[in-house]
Symmetry: C2
Subunit: 110 residues, 2 copies
DNA sequence: TCTTTAATTAAAGTATATGACAATCAAGCG
DNA sequence: CGCTTGATTGTCATATACTTTAATTAAAGA
């Protein structure tokens, strides 16, 4: 299971609200570290570390631009967790169908 | 952001391969704790703790049956991370389209 | 060169996660 | 009741996560 490690890293990275907020910000466009840190109460080193975690999980990439680091959202890990989640979709579909049938039945006998 | 805590718990729970393996097993049907622990090298208390983490995240529920605990997969948190991931789907769609256009262009000028 | 800006690294503290083993609880059975 | 089975709780050790402050690197500009 080679991508087991990848899933571990991706899920762990997404488990922190600050990191999800950073991704949400990057979904609107690439940004530098200071700009990403600005909305947070946290210190800059703390944000820098969150960015490092996101990069190690492949959720973002960083491009050097003089003394700046331009951070960009990467979607591959998100696609992977989407695929992983889809393994279970038939189960919630089945339960929804069962619920639906139950409700129809109640309505019919009403 | 009330469901921020829920997402934290769900993503953190899914970040451990043993816990994902337990969910995969439960996708095939409900099972008792000992049955869930059987495939693992880990001690039973360790598995019991993983199950506790999954339950706190709402990913499973437990039903008492004499001295047994029947564990059942719950899909709501999985649907929630599916929804969360869908926020980003337009980005990877857009990038795929851009890549597609680029490849078409290369083929046209070939 | 000296300074400013952008960002990372280092050191340190607190907290939480993981897992082992031992002990315990709870329920059913002889 | 005493025993077995299923599962949890307690205690401990190790490791990793999160955050801060202080210091450092890297690049640009006066």
């Amino acid at each position: 299971m080679i991508d087991d490690d990848a899933l571990n890293a991706t899920f762990a990275a997404l488990a922190h609200p600050a990191r999800r907020a950073i991704l949400a910000r990057l979904a609107k466009g690439s940004a530098h570290v200071n700009a990403l840190a600005e909305p947070f109460e946290m210190s800059l080193p703390a944000v820098s570390n969150h960015i490092r975690v996101l990069e190690k999980a492949g959720l973002i990439s960083r491009e050097k631009d003089a003394q700046f680091r331009l951070c960009k959202l990467e979607t591959r890990p998100l696609q992977e967790i989407s695929n992983w989640t889809n393994q279970y979709r038939h189960i919630w579909d089945a339960r929804f169908d069962a619920m639906d049938a139950l409700l129809s039945n109640i309505k019919d006998t009403d």
